[in-house]
């Protein structure tokens, strides 16, 4: 079994190398059969890796404890879904998942474009397969998934395994890593197209048109992955937060930020032919940040609570990153002539300008997060002292950035291209601004004094109102012509221009998320040592401490604390926070009890027995508005899916193309 798996990975490595060499040689030497054979090699890589992955999963489920990976990440008593999830529970397996996903993407891509982009495709294949080769080097020679446990000269069967880390035995953790990887890996595709178009000197927009859907889909996966991680942290880790600015979390956020910037700035290229170099830079940044994120979580470079084991992987990643970035930079600089902008900025009050600032601010945020994450590494390199920065640093920088972005979210889509007059702005934004101000006045009267919270609610209202007005305006126009009811008209409207109205829905989702984030300003928390019969007051809630129940199954033992909850005299039932002790890993975990409501969550964590054995430590929190983050996510998801549906009427963006440039100051006429 292990021999077959190792062999499959080694063969996949050979085929991937061949695909790189074959496609480039075939292109340069004009030999179509070489290119074709390289494409077939791509399918072979996929088939071989599928065999390897299936073998690993089979060993995990069947419980072949001779394998080190199985013994470390699975055990007999785990449920089958978790055994399956052990595939990506550890270093080697998750690298195999990376490689497998990349080969899957590449195969789909090669198949889709088997008759298209014949000029560019060999290079696209080569770029993707180079990345694949890199990951296959890692799993063939550095971190092999099919290692056998050895003692002396014989193979040892461990009998039973360590089990998956108990913290990971939670449903969101089963799908979070694959989602994140689907996003991480997917960005290799737009990147490969960008490089392909650079090499073949066709830096027009064709690579953007072809990869738009890829980009959106991978962005969707990334968003899902990041938010699943946040949801997991909130529901499992017991500290009540969803985001702690931990290096590993930051690693997943960084490419997401540049990807978001990219999604916006491609519109500038599509519609105005501007920012071509910038888009190349952004797509490359995103790809390399994905690799960098994988590197950060695996190399132990930065102290993190949830990094993988320290290993020698780091330097392989550094070499790959260094070579990749250098090559990309060289290519972009070399092809600058083909990336000339076709228009220029004309006014600060214009759509172009809002895109520019959107990008600027997203990149600033990305840079700040990167800087903060690597701060210990940087300071150690400079003066030998490791200095780290904490969550307050990240919040301080990113909260104003977030609010500014929110403002742009409202303004950007409505402001005119090229130049907008103050009058038209007044017309478009009068009611949204009034609504925003009204919300602030209302909140101040209710006693809210938190500055950022007020600004945030005002901006959220502002954006929400602009979006709603847009939908109604469009729908009323359609209803006038066709006499449908208003909701049918809205559907029709969305269908006519899915990109625009899907985008609005995504923005609406983001508004909901921001409302959820803002709730953080009003958290209440209380940690107390409790005994049976005691009543704890938390905000408007009364918590009556009841019995502790205990029990065990074959995987873990548990203690459950019964807490009767009442609010303003109404009985809200019992919450049952739980503590578990997993036998295989001897690790305790808390299963928090959360009463989720739209206005606030009541969150109880059974933190353990106090040392004298009599009391029980209970942590209780009220988190206002948190649920809106998860609701907002659905908005983003649905909006993105709508963006992916082709519009009813194909949109053509007329725009001027630069044919020749005569004279030094020749102006582009529109």
């Amino acid at each position: 079994m292990e021999n077959l798996g190792t062999l499959a990975i080694l063969l996949a490595f050979c085929f991937a190398c061949y695909a790189v060499i074959g496609s480039v040689a075939g292109k340069l030497g004009r030999r179509p059969f070489l290119i074709l054979s390289a494409e077939r090699a791509v399918y072979c890589v996929w088939a071989l890796l599928t065999v390897a992955a299936s073998l690993l999963v089979y060993s995990l489920i069947a419980g072949d404890f001779r394998l080190a990976y199985v013994a470390e990440h699975s055990n007999k008593s785990m449920d089958t879904p978790y055994k399956f999830a052990s595939w990506w529970g550890g270093q080697e397996g998750s690298l195999l998942l990376w490689a497998w996903l990349l080969s899957t993407y590449t195969s789909v891509l090669v198949f889709q474009n088997r008759r298209k982009f014949r000029e560019m495709m060999p290079y696209v294949t080569a770029v993707l397969m180079t990345t694949e080769t890199f990951f296959l080097i890692l799993i063939s020679f550095v971190e092999a998934p099919f290692k056998v446990l050895m003692a002396g000269k014989g193979i040892v069967d461990a009998g039973d395994g360590q089990g998956l880390n108990p913290l990971l035995q939670y449903w969101t953790m089963v799908i979070h890593p694959p989602m994140l990887y689907l996003g991480y890996v997917g960005f290799a595709v737009p990147f490969a197209f960008a490089i392909g178009s650079l090499i073949t000197k066709q830096p027009g927009d064709s690579w953007i048109h072809t990869t738009r859907r890829w980009t959106l889909v991978t962005w969707m996966f990334q968003t899902t992955g990041v938010l699943l991680g946040a949801g997991w942290a909130y529901a499992v880790l017991g500290w009540g937060g969803y985001w702690g600015w931990d290096p590993v979390e930051n690693a997943s956020l960084l490419p997401w930020i540049t990807a978001t910037a990219f999604l916006h700035s491609v519109m500038m290229q599509e519609k105005k032919g501007m920012m071509k170099v910038w888009n190349m830079v952004l797509v490359s940044c995103t790809f390399f940040l994905c690799i960098f994120g994988t590197f950060l979580t695996r190399s132990g470079v930065v102290q993190s609570v949830h990094a993988f084991a320290q290993s020698s992987l780091g330097r392989y990643f550094i070499v790959f990153l260094a070579v990749g970035i250098a090559a990309t930079l060289y290519l972009i600089l070399n092809r600058l002539d083909y990336l000339k902008s076709e228009a220029q900025l004309e006014s600060v009050l214009s759509r172009e300008s809002s895109f520019l600032f959107n990008n600027l601010i997203l990149l600033a945020s990305c840079f700040a997060v990167l800087w903060g994450t690597l701060f210990p590494v940087i300071t150690e390199a400079i003066n030998g002292e490791k200095i780290s920065v904490d969550a307050p640093f990240f919040n301080r920088v990113n909260i104003p950035i977030g609010l500014f972005l929110m403002l742009l979210t409202g303004v950007g889509p409505l402001i005119a291209w090229r130049k907008s007059s103050v009058e038209s702005l007044k017309r478009a934004f009068f009611w949204p601004s009034v609504a925003g101000l009204a919300v602030v006045v209302g909140l101040v009267i209710m006693g809210v004094r938190h500055f950022y919270a007020l600004v945030s609610f005002a901006l959220c209202t502002f954006v929400a109102v602009t979006v709603v007005i847009e939908f109604f305006k469009g729908a009323i126009a359609i209803r006038g012509k066709e006499g449908q009811n208003i909701f049918a008209a809205m559907m029709e409207l969305t269908h006519r221009n899915t990109r625009r109205y899907g985008g609005y829905l995504v923005h609406m989702g983001v508004v909901f998320m921001f409302i959820g984030f803002t709730g953080k300003a009003f958290d209440i928390d209380k940690t107390v040592e409790v005994t049976k019969g005691q009543i704890v007051r938390l905000g408007a809630y009364q918590l009556a401490i009841g019995d502790i129940e205990s029990g065990k199954n074959e995987n873990y033992s548990w203690d459950i604390l019964n807490v009767g909850v009442t609010k303003g005299g109404t009985d809200l039932g019992t919450l049952r926070p739980e503590r578990r002790l997993y036998f295989a890993s001897r690790q305790p975990t808390s299963n928090v009890a959360i009463r989720r409501r739209l206005n606030e969550d009541l969150y109880l964590n059974f933190a353990g027995a106090s040392n004298d054995g009599e009391g029980t430590v209970l942590q209780s929190y009220v988190f206002p508005l948190v649920s809106w983050i998860w609701i907002g996510y659905w908005g983003v998801l649905i909006g993105t899916i709508i963006c992916l549906i082709p519009s009813k009427s194909r949109l053509v963006y007329p725009r001027t193309e630069v044919l020749t440039v005569t004279g030094k100051h020749a102006q582009v006429e529109k």
Binding site: L167, V305, L345, V348, F404, H665
Partner: protein, 158 residues
């Protein structure tokens, strides 16, 4: 209003002046945005920067150590964890050196916080020599990867 707009268009069409003025405007705006963020970032760094130290390094620093925010790493000495209400005290050990730590932060202690685990304590050193931590991180060797326990001194081979 129409007049105003016309004038603007005249401006941009006059070679050189319009774009220059625009670039200046954009430049100033970008500088303002980045400047604000840089100012926030610098403030944020000086406010929250934390020095990594080991127990040994901390002992060497002596009284100097009392001003800085510190992050001290070590192992939790067996049987030293004591909980009194929300306060938790324990001893952080590195080889033979020991340091008393008191934690009374808001966040619950991680589940990995137990005897023998590696811990990182963030906080300040008090004048009494006790380290007052506001945040504790703990990890058992590595959080995602537990070591295999196979009898007979196992080695791993591919």
């Amino acid at each position: 209003m129409i007049c105003k707009r016309l004038r603007c268009e005249e401006y941009t069409s006059v070679e050189g002046i319009g774009p220059m003025k625009n670039y200046l405007k954009f430049g100033l705006l970008i500088a303002a945005v980045l400047g604000t963020l840089a100012w926030l970032a610098v403030g944020g760094i000086s406010e929250t920067k934390t020095y990594y130290k080991t127990v040994a390094e901390l002992k060497q620093l002596g009284s100097q150590a009392q001003e800085k925010r510190l992050r001290v790493g070590g192992d939790i000495a067996p049987n030293s964890i004591k909980r009194e209400g929300a306060n938790v005290s324990f001893t952080l050990a590195q080889d033979k050196l020991r340091m008393e730590v008191v934690y009374n932060g808001i966040d619950p202690l991680p589940d990995t916080f137990r005897d023998g685990a590696q811990a990182l304590a963030d906080g300040k050193l008090g004048t009494d020599g006790v380290f007052h931590a506001t945040k504790i991180q703990a990890k058992c060797a590595s959080k995602y990867e537990a070591k295999p326990t196979v009898k007979g001194n196992p080695s791993v081979r591919s």
